[in-house]
């Protein structure tokens, strides 16, 4: 808040109009300073701002000059007080604001001191450098000059010596000649005079170099002070920035295709703009650099940037440089950021449920592995809209999750993939209803002669005979019995489902262990239990098979809708005529592991599985 604001601000003043007959005269010195002479004796509170004295309150006098009834007095006093309070509050507010401002000023003061200190240091260093360089240069030049002088003197001295020698030689010659001239012996004279004359002549022919060996002048090369100049110039220019510091990735700042990157300046550098570089980190970096991933660059002015158009669940290397008029800073350290994964895809046909739980399976949705998955569920309201109840299961390591639920409700369940960058968007939700037990059929166990309806709940055994060669047997398919297993949720407790058949279909329905022999018939071994219907021209026959044995039973009304009730805890598997609510038979067996519903057709026909039905009361033992 600016000081001006305070100065210019006006604190609201109690309106005087209509309150009292004794309207005060406003002071001529405005500036939010009101003084009220009140002949009646009643004074309003006034606030003085922008005076040298501190805020001044003029007390209110309670005497009431109202000429009317005494009640007016109380009434007006009450109003009076009522209006004081907001004004007082406002004042308090202003005081607080000013205190804040004062504190802020203090901070600024400290920062200025710091900055000054830094600048001073910087300057000292700079000039010191310059001075040092200059004195270095001086020393060099001085030394240079000295050496030049020395060499000149030496050469001159040399010359001098030579001259001296020449002089001496001449002298010797002349003396020799004179000696000879003075020689009395004419014969000797004649003998020696000619060589002497020759020598003298020769000597006289010699040119005497009278030029000076060296010049008298000293060379003064131009001093190269460019670097000193640069240094001095650089005092005036702002230095290039130092490398910025790139921050590590903040949680929840990334999306599937973007990353939010932040960095900060190492020091108080002036920066014009930043350049953020990024490139994907590839799994296998090839040896040669020709296939190196492409580097991309973004120019920003702020200390953060959101990079878009990235791949999901991918790692990127990022670094940033700062640039100002002087130049570019060195690059910051390289940081590794990761985009968030793509959302998973729930595999509808591989999910199953029962009143207490649901098993959800999904596809990762990402080619590379993710760290974990988060499963989210919310209960739908009675109207079918999402209610606020939400539960999250985190750190799911694989692409499936068994969730505990409450019976008789409906839930929306979705999954997110999670990596260091954060969680992905929610997958499309699946609706799970915890009424009864619900499962799909395991297509990969189906005998090749079985075909399935589109909704996956009716199986058909066609009339056409497929040749053996045309039948594609896989590891998991039934090969003799035209059968299929159901994907019952592996949860103990009670399960119930119904099977719809017609008058003539020969079928087997029941349960079997997951590893029941695929080349055997349902009920013929110890790993399966089933009810079998055989149709003869005259009647229906029924068997309840396990280990190839069945009790001897007759049933008079052919069931077209069979209820199957499995109770792990009691160790029972019961069959009912669902339309008549009639109990047909119960196997008693202690199941060693989880079982799967099994269905087979022994003659061409069809069979429909109905599930998601709450177990009727009559099926509960």
């Amino acid at each position: 808040m600016e000081l001006d604001d305070i100065r210019g601000g006006r604190l609201d003043v109690i309106s005087e109009e209509g309150e009292h007959q004794d309207i005060s005269r406003e002071s001529s010195t405005m500036e939010a300073c009101y003084v009220v002479p009140e002949p009646g004796g009643r004074t309003f509170q006034r606030f003085s701002v922008n005076t040298n004295e501190s805020l001044r309150f003029e007390p209110c006098e309670d005497s009431c000059p109202s000429p009317t009834a005494a009640e007016d007095d109380v009434f007006e006093k009450g109003e009076f007080e009522g209006e004081i309070i907001p004004v007082r509050n406002q004042l308090q507010g202003k005081v607080a604001e000013m205190e804040n401002f004062a504190g802020h000023l203090e901070e600024i003061f400290l920062t200025v001191e710091e900055n000054f200190g830094r600048q001073e240091q910087h300057l000292e260093q700079h000039y010191n450098d310059v001075l040092q360089t200059l004195s270095q240069r001086y020393d060099e030049r001085a030394t240079g000059l000295q050496e030049e002088k020395k060499s000149k003197l030496e050469s001159l001295y040399g010359q001098l010596l030579v001259c001296g020698q020449a002089l001496d030689a001449s002298k010797v010659l002349i003396e020799t000649a004179q000696e000879i001239y003075r020689c009395q012996d004419k014969r000797l004279f004649l003998k020696t005079v000619m060589p002497i004359i020759k020598r003298v002549e020769e000597f006289a022919k010699e040119d005497i170099d009278l030029t000076l060996a060296t010049s008298l002048e000293f060379s003064t090369p131009l001093a190269d002070l460019t670097d000193v100049k640069t240094m001095m110039d650089s005092i005036n220019i702002v230095p290039a920035p130092s490398a910025p510091v790139i921050n590590p990735q903040l949680p929840n700042s990334a999306t599937q295709t973007s990353l939010h990157v932040c960095w900060s300046l190492f020091s108080d550098d002036t920066v014009e703009y930043y350049e953020l570089y990024y490139r994907p980190v590839l799994e296998d970096t090839p040896a040669d650099s020709t296939c190196a991933p492409q580097e991309s660059k973004v120019k920003v002015k702020e200390t953060h940037c959101t990079v878009t158009d990235l791949l999901p669940n991918a790692q990127y290397e990022l670094w940033v440089t700062a640039t100002n008029t002087t130049g570019i800073s060195p690059a910051s350290e390289k940081a590794l950021y990761m985009t968030v994964p793509s959302p998973p895809v729930i595999k509808q046909r591989e999910c199953s449920s029962c009143p207490e739980a649901a098993l959800i399976r999904w596809e990762s949705g990402n080619t590379n592995p993710v760290d974990s998955y988060t499963v989210e569920l919310s209960e739908t309201g009675t109207v079918g809209t999402e209610s606020n109840i939400t539960e999250s299961i985190v750190a799911v390591p694989t692409c499936q999750c068994l969730i505990q639920l409450q019976a008789g409700r409906q839930y929306f369940i979705s999954v997110r993939a999670v990596n260091i960058g954060g969680p992905s968007e929610r997958s499309d939700a699946i609706t799970i209803s915890t009424t009864g037990t619900f499962f799909y059929l395991l297509e990969d166990t189906a005998h090749p002669c079985l075909s399935m309806s589109e909704d996956g709940f009716t199986i058909f055994y066609g009339d056409e005979e497929l040749p053996i060669t045309a039948m594609a047997f896989e590891d998991n398919t039934f090969t003799r019995c035209v059968a299929i297993l159901g994907d019952l949720i592996p949860v103990r407790g009670r399960h119930y489902w119904e099977v719809e058949v017609d008058e003539d279909t020969e079928f087997r329905v029941g349960v079997a262990y997951e590893d029941t022999e695929r080349d055997s018939y349902l009920g013929a071994n110890s790993s399966s239990w089933c009810m079998r219907h055989i149709r003869t021209p005259s009647r229906h026959k029924y068997e309840f098979l396990h280990n190839g044995w069945s009790p001897d039973l007759r049933i008079t009304v052919h069931p077209v809708r069979i209820g199957v009730a499995l109770d792990y805890d009691r160790g029972t598997l019961s069959f009912f005529n669902a339309h008549l609510e009639q109990h047909l038979h119960t196997f008693r067996c202690h199941f060693q592991s989880y079982v799967h519903p099994c269905f087979s057709l022994d003659n061409p026909g069809a069979l429909t599985v109905h599930n998601g039905i709450a177990a009727p009361d009559y099926t509960v033992t």
Binding site: P551, D552, L553, R554, I555, T556, V557, L580, Q582, T621
Partner: protein
């Protein structure tokens, strides 16, 4: 309508009692057995009527069939009457084991000298229920009928002739031309039953008629079992449970 208690034994948490009374239908003193489960002390219970086979009295069932534990568990009163009027001094009544004394066949005789006393059908369907309902903590709307051998026949004919009266039915004999509320019949037959091998019992006929008439029956042939109370004992639990499903619904 006065009842005299003949015996009472604590059994399976409840009481196995035998009563005697003067029967108006049969014009003689008749005994019947009543099992009262623990639940009868505090509330009303449904009633399961058991009709015994040839030569039996009210004693055979309560000592040999092992019904009390299951009845106590499901809170059901079991009434087991005698199989015929006794001490009526009718000529010829003791001549054969399968006619006369101990062989009432649960029908009302139409000829002399039997027709005065031999009215077991009326006794079982009218007099006895009235007597039971006024003297014991019963739920008069919930009763079922069951039996062995001749009693099975009796159970069936009582049920078929009184559609809707009995909540659950059990029989070993021919079904008639029944039309009424849906039945749910459970039949056990010992495979080694001498009467079966002697073709005195004809379950196949029953089954085929019921198949035709769409009367729901589950008929179980139990290997190794005979006609005796050992056989009855072995499957009594299943039958009481079958009845309890409807009586306690």
């Amino acid at each position: 309508m006065a009842l005299t208690q003949v015996s009472s034994n604590k059994c399976a948490g409840g009481f196995q009692k035998v009563f005697e009374h003067d029967s108006t239908e049969l014009k003689c003193k008749m005994k019947f057995a009543v099992f009262l489960p623990p639940k009868a002390e505090t509330g009303k219970c449904p009633v399961f009527y058991w009709l015994s086979g040839l030569t039996c009295t009210e004693q055979n069932f309560i000592t040999k069939a092992g019904s009390q534990l299951a009845a106590a568990e499901h809170g059901i009163i079991i009434v087991a009457p005698d199989t015929s009027p006794r001490g009526c001094s009718i000529e010829g009544e003791d001549e054969t084991w399968d006619f006369g004394t101990g062989a009432g066949f649960y029908v009302d005789a139409t000829q002399d000298p039997w027709k005065t006393n031999y009215r077991m059908y009326s006794y079982v369907t009218e007099e006895l229920p009235k007597l039971i309902n006024s003297n014991f903590p019963t739920d008069p709307d919930r009763m079922s009928i069951s039996g062995h051998s001749m009693g099975g026949h009796g159970a069936l004919i009582c049920a078929l002739k009184n559609p809707g009266k009995y909540k659950a039915y059990d029989a070993t004999v021919l079904a008639g031309s029944y039309s009424g509320p849906q039945l749910d019949i459970l039949i056990d037959q010992g495979r080694d039953d001498q009467f079966l091998s002697a073709s005195q019992l004809l379950p196949d006929n029953l089954i085929s008629v019921c198949s035709e008439k769409k009367i729901p029956v589950v008929f179980r042939l139990q290997p190794g079992y005979d006609h005796s109370y050992f056989f009855i004992y072995s499957f009594m639990n299943d039958h009481i449970k079958h009845h309890a499903k409807y009586l306690n619904a």
